[in-house]
Symmetry: C2
């Protein structure tokens, strides 16, 4: 946005656009491996291990509303915000900066994000994403990405908002195999 | 089994039990990282890249009927058979032994396993598991494991066998986050 009457100082370019455009092709879209490069260069993971390719694939899938399997700049900005918020949540539990949190801390984090899950579901998630009882940053993010994507897809089919949804087999496979 | 009357020649020990018992603890169960060691030592992947930890986690989840997140010897034998059959399917498409198959070959393989999926579902699966248009052995196996586990879970809820199943939200998350 320029400021008319004040000489029109050029707006500070969005720094995110720099990371994005460095890897995006002519079409302004990035694929999973380009997203991985982009996130690594941007340093969003901070001192944590950069995201693996599988996590990046899931991030694209989570926001891929047009089913192109790639990500435009607006989706990238949305991803950036959500990743930052998850990183802050993770860091708030990783007080000793070991790069891991405990299983029950993952449960607190999930609850703090507004999910209302049974102890059984929490237990499945905890076991699925922990290694020797602890959860690394990349597994934490993968868990957050999948939980959000699956919940979004479920909500679209839970048309009466009663916590019950019906899936045709093919639709179920499409939803679950893309996340 | 001994052979009474023939001097009771010791039975050839099941070679699979050797691989299994080398990593199983006192409880006769193996976890995902022990399964990874076990499968790597057994050489089941042949000249293909050994299975990654994520694939091993999914294999345990696929057969984990008692929800212990570990695998006993009988489940290991069942896994062994199914992995061998998938490896043979993969090898039959990987004629040049590059360790990868093409996207459309994954689709033929899935159809040959008896799955009846729409072009949209096939496309999602193909994109999800391919890197630069090709599917590596470990991604192929991960895809097979998930497709089987998800279909098994779906069938249990499709009580009328009509290709329609209803999931409560918590149940949906349990099924999808464990696969």
């Amino acid at each position: 946005m320029a400021f008319p009457g004040y000489g029109g100082a050029p707006p500070a370019q969005d720094p995110l656009y720099g990371y994005f455009s460095a890897v995006a092709g002519q079409d302004g879209q990035i694929s999973a491996d380009e997203l991985q490069q982009c996130l690594t260069h941007s340093g969003i993971a901070g001192s944590y291990k950069p995201f693996n390719l599988e996590a990046c694939r899931l991030m694209i899938s989570m926001l891929d509303r047009d089913m192109t399997n790639s990500m435009g700049f607006n989706e990238f900005k949305e991803l950036w915000q959500v990743l930052n918020s998850w990183k802050n949540t993770f860091a708030s539990y990783d007080r000793d900066r070991s790069g891991t949190v405990e299983g029950h801390e993952l449960q607190y984090a999930i609850t703090s994000m507004g999910y209302n899950l049974s102890p059984q579901a929490m237990n499945i998630i905890m076991k699925r994403y922990s290694t020797n009882g602890r959860i690394g940053f990349d597994d934490f993010i993968t868990c957050c990405v999948r939980l959000r994507a699956l919940t979004d897809q479920y909500r679209r089919r839970d048309t009466t908002q009663t916590g019950t949804a019906t899936f045709q087999y093919d639709d179920f496979i499409q939803v679950t195999m893309s996340t």
